[in-house]
């Protein structure tokens, strides 16, 4: 697992998440929502796995609702529980 992917029901929520990450210096960026996760369109927030805890805390702090959390690298993504150990 080298990267994690947060998905959102709203592109504007995804962008707010990216802006917050940018402010806090987390190297996250928006990418097209992979079709293996959901068909259609939309954006997902791609973050280094090492930032997972900090990003999860940031999203919770600002009450930004995520739809899912996935781990993977490249084209294969595996759904994760979003609560950290």
């Amino acid at each position: 697992m080298s990267q994690v992917l947060y998905t959102f029901s709203s592109s504007h929520t995804a962008m707010e998440a990216e802006l917050l990450c940018e402010e806090m210096g987390h190297p996250c960026r928006l990418i097209p929502l992979p079709s293996m996760i959901s068909a259609g369109c939309g954006l997902a927030l791609l973050c280094p796995a090492a930032s997972r805890g900090a990003v999860a805390g940031l999203l919770r702090q600002h009450q930004l609702e995520t739809e899912g959390l996935y781990a993977g690298a490249g084209k294969v993504w595996e759904e994760m529980r979003d609560d950290l150990p």
Partner: protein
């Protein structure tokens, strides 16, 4: 021209607003939330930042700000999206048709509507809200500032009433926003607040929005592209998507953001002070001109004044001001029919003078001189 029709739209805009619009049209911004290439993401980020700027201005959360083409759209979305035929809504005789007509539409579907009457000076007081409200009232839909007299509604008291009775507050801030410090919106538990960009927020025409406070489920008024959930037959009901079907007006939104930032730089207290001084200068002198009747309670008012010169048609007065003195004002009914019916000015209308940050005391003096001359001539 001396432009005193700022309540229709502010004519002079800060340079920063035009710069922001030009920049938005400069060939770098794509369609926000439509794709993930750099131009689309840059547009989405620009809109996201604008949402944050508006949120900071209104003391709201960024994702509780939806961009709409105008306050009229926002009010239609609020009234038709949040209310049902089972509701009972309290409104006032000072409302603009942007509020009244959606309410009438809902009334025709069975919704009950109670209207707070006016005092003879042309406004209402908190006690009138108490005496009009019913035990089964579910929502209050009012403007924060009259677009005719500039009278300020007792917003804090109305918000308290809504809080105590668990009523939805639908507030039209078209005239209010940008003229004085804002009420504590963030403390309101359940509200929908409409604003326009092109009046006292100094943004471009075609910009505006709806602010959601607390849990207020909305049905979409306009459905279509949302950038998400493309295979769903229904438009998303999440906020702000529920109000933002179709491509956003990015140049307008960025111009609006620039206007709000400019206002914040000026300071709303300073802005309010200047506007109050202009209004006071105008009202104090105009009241002394024989034959002129000024409307409104004059207790607490924004930079808007309505008057008539004896029995002259308001259109004639406004035409004389324009043609002979180069002064732009607004005659007629100002899209506020209940107010004019209550004041007996349905036929005569009224002449509205409205001021912005860019107006000067010299311009007010010129307008006063013109009114003295018109009054003297009749």
């Amino acid at each position: 021209m001396i432009y005193l029709d700022q309540s229709a739209t502010s004519l002079m805009k800060p340079k920063e607003v035009a710069d922001a619009v030009n920049q938005a049209l400069g060939g770098t911004l794509g369609n926000p939330a439509r794709g993930a290439h750099q131009a689309a993401l840059d547009a989405l980020k620009a809109v996201g930042r604008a949402r944050r700027s508006l949120a900071a201005f209104f003391e709201a959360s960024p994702l509780d700000i939806a961009f709409t083409p105008s306050a009229t759209y926002a009010l239609n979305m609020a009234v038709k999206g949040a209310l049902t035929p089972k509701d009972r809504v309290l409104t006032t005789m000072t409302e603009h048709n942007a509020m009244l007509r959606p309410l009438y539409e809902m009334q025709s579907q069975g919704m009950a509507l109670d209207v707070v009457p006016l005092h003879k000076h042309g406004f209402y007081e908190t006690e009138d809200v108490f005496s009009t409200i019913k035990p089964d009232t579910t929502a209050v839909a009012v403007n924060a500032m009259s677009n005719i007299t500039g009278d300020i509604a007792p917003i804090t008291h109305i918000a308290d009433i809504c809080y105590q009775r668990d009523l939805l507050l639908i507030l039209d801030m078209s005239q209010y926003a940008g003229t004085r410090p804002l009420p504590a919106i963030k403390q309101w538990p359940r509200a929908l607040i409409a604003f326009t960009g092109h009046k006292s927020l100094y943004g471009p025409q075609g910009s505006g929005g709806l602010i959601k406070r607390g849990p207020v489920p909305l049905r979409p008024l306009i459905t279509g592209g949302s950038g998400v959930l493309s295979f769903s037959k229904a438009h998303p009901d999440s906020f702000p998507e529920v109000c933002e079907a179709g491509t956003l007006n990015v140049p307008g939104i960025l111009g609006l953001e620039a206007g709000v930032k400019w206002l914040a730089d000026q300071g709303l207290h300073a802005v309010s002070g200047h506007l109050s001084a202009l209004r006071l200068q105008f009202v104090e002198s105009v009241r002394k001109i024989p034959g002129i009747q000024v409307y409104g309670s004059q207790q607490d008012a924004g930079p808007v004044v309505a008057l008539n010169v004896a029995v002259m048609d308001s259109g004639d007065v406004s035409r004389l001001l324009d043609e002979d003195y180069g002064i732009a004002t607004r005659p007629g009914a100002h899209c506020a029919p209940l107010w004019h019916e209550a004041m007996g000015t349905r036929n005569q209308g009224a002449v509205r003078f409205s001021f912005s940050c860019f107006n000067t005391h010299e311009e007010i003096d010129t307008a006063l001189d013109a009114l003295r001359a018109i009054s003297k001539a009749i």
